[in-house]
């Protein structure tokens, strides 16, 4: 597992999720879980992707990840409709641990309310919640 990192170009939700706003389409965001979340979970052995077309609501669970010892809800950092899922994680969830901000991305969402991003945290504010 790589060392802790919290990239500057992401927005963070206090429930340990990140959102990357597409620079050319500000209403499209990619979601995943943070380094802290994957470290707390331990090795993820099972990812159950949600369905394309389903809606997600900020602060509500939209999928779950399972490690050997427990299952955990994944919370949506923003609201919208799922337009793409990372199907590869269904067969091999290892990137969630190995590359949580890259290959471990979970869904792409068309946002229903772009202003919700104002409630998310920058890396410094998020890391402050961890200590």
């Amino acid at each position: 597992m790589a060392d802790a990192s919290y990239p500057d170009d992401l927005l963070y939700h206090p429930e340990h999720d990140w959102a990357l706003i597409d620079p050319t389409h500000p209403d499209i965001a990619t979601f995943g879980i943070t380094w802290f979340a994957q470290d707390a979970l331990g090795e993820v052995v099972f990812f159950d992707p949600p369905a394309v077309g389903s809606t997600v609501t900020k602060d509500e669970p939209y999928t779950e990840v399972e490690s050997v010892k427990a299952v955990s809800d994944v919370i949506a950092p923003l609201s919208g409709e799922i337009i793409e899922i990372n199907e590869a994680l269904g067969d091999d969830p290892e990137p969630i641990n190995e590359d949580p901000y890259g290959g471990g991305w979970m869904v792409k969402v068309r946002l229903s309310d772009v202003s919700e991003t104002e409630a998310l945290l920058d890396p410094a504010a998020y890391q402050a919640t961890l200590s």
Binding site: G42, E43, V45, F46, D48, E64, E66, S67, V68, K69, A70, V71
Partner: protein, 357 residues
């Protein structure tokens, strides 16, 4: 566990050693214990393929001695304590009058009228109170040795080799026990464990634990956390109290009839005898999940029953578990459907143990 709530968490003598070894510390039954070090899967497979060492000092010890010790233990333990010779080890359950399981225990006979019983951490206080209450009228002393005692389990195909190299005498065989000097330190060595692998458990003075731990690591034993301890025991279908055993269930439905000898007249024997004669309405079965998904403790079985333990088996690569199900569904090969957080997963009742060397 209620007794430990709002009290400071306890630490074993190896707390600093766990932190130094990279252990992730969690609260377990009132103790700060290492849940994992290198990773559950890696630790699990190390025990299956070579050797691991577990700090199980959170478990309790009760020493019972005096002229009536054999008769007293025969009265409260479900197994036939008369069969337990000096240097022996015996598994039993502790029952209420109504047959409900208070705890499951290993008892070692350390002398003619001396015994040592190992309790589950979450039950130790309850067990001790039960022992003392039941001891009235017996010429026996019941001593709580939990604080003064540390316990290490060394498990895996290379476990005996590693411990033998530190021992002054040949190690006791499977289900035997005796005092040895390990790395020069006097302790009780028992050929028991909770993993399905060969190995020993070392019961020692608490202050000796750090030296023994270091000596075992130097000889190549890998530290193993509680999470892998749970996946290892579940693969071989050993019970975990609080999951698979509880006061509202009896030993017959739990599949522990082999450890109950009603003819000895132990507390609860009448209730156990009645269930054995009539047959239980539910039985604890092992299962494997077909396809993806992992059933967990508390997931309902469709048509009746409940999962009591569930995980991903690192050895088998599939979801496994144990569940109480109606007897009509208890035969190996029976298809089960388990409600895993709203999704129905197919599973099949499997023979115990789920994993064999």
């Amino acid at each position: 566990m209620a007794a430990t709530e709002n009290q400071p968490l306890k630490r074993t003598p190896l707390y600093e050693a766990h932190v130094a070894a990279g252990g992730k510390i969690v609260d377990f039954a009132g103790w700060e214990m290492p849940v994992q070090y290198a990773g559950i899967r890696e630790e699990h497979l190390a025990v299956r393929s070579s050797v691991g060492v577990f700090d199980v000092s959170h478990m309790g010890e009760i020493e019972t001695f005096g002229p009536d010790a054999p008769a007293f233990l025969q009265r409260i333990l479900s197994n036939d304590v008369e069969q337990l010779d000096i240097g022996g080890a015996q598994y039993s359950v502790l029952c209420r009058e109504d047959g409900g399981v208070l705890d499951d225990l290993f008892t070692y006979r350390t002398g003619g009228d001396r015994y040592l019983t190992v309790t589950n951490a979450s039950n130790h206080g309850k067990d001790l109170a039960w022992f003392r209450r039941q001891a009235e009228g017996f010429d026996v002393q019941v001593v709580d040795s939990a604080e003064a005692t540390a316990m290490l389990a060394v498990q895996g195909p290379l476990a005996r080799e590693v411990v033998q190299a530190l021992s002054d005498q040949p190690l006791p065989g499977r289900f035997r026990s005796g005092r040895r000097r390990i790395d020069g330190l006097d302790m009780l060595v028992a050929g028991t464990g909770y993993t399905g692998e060969d190995g020993v458990e070392l019961i020692m003075y608490a202050e000796h634990a750090p030296v023994v731990w270091e000596a075992l690591l130097r000889r190549g034993a890998q530290p193993i956390g509680l999470a892998a301890r749970d996946t290892l025991r579940l693969e071989v279908c050993y019970h975990l109290y609080g999951n698979d055993l509880m006061e509202s269930r009896g030993p017959i439905e739990a599949g522990l009839g082999w450890a109950c000898k009603e003819a000895t007249g132990f507390v609860g024997a009448e209730a156990v005898r009645a269930v054995r004669a009539a047959g239980p309405s539910e039985k604890l079965v092992a299962f494997t999940v077909e396809g993806k998904g992992i059933a967990r403790h508390g997931n309902p079985v469709v048509g009746g029953g409940e999962v009591t333990s569930g995980t991903l088996s690192p050895s088998l690569g599939v979801g496994i578990g144990m569940a109480y199900v109606p007897v009509a569904s208890a035969e190996p090969g029976t298809k089960l459907q388990i409600d895993v957080r709203g999704k129905v997963r197919d599973a099949v009742v499997a023979p115990k143990p789920l994993y064999q060397r």
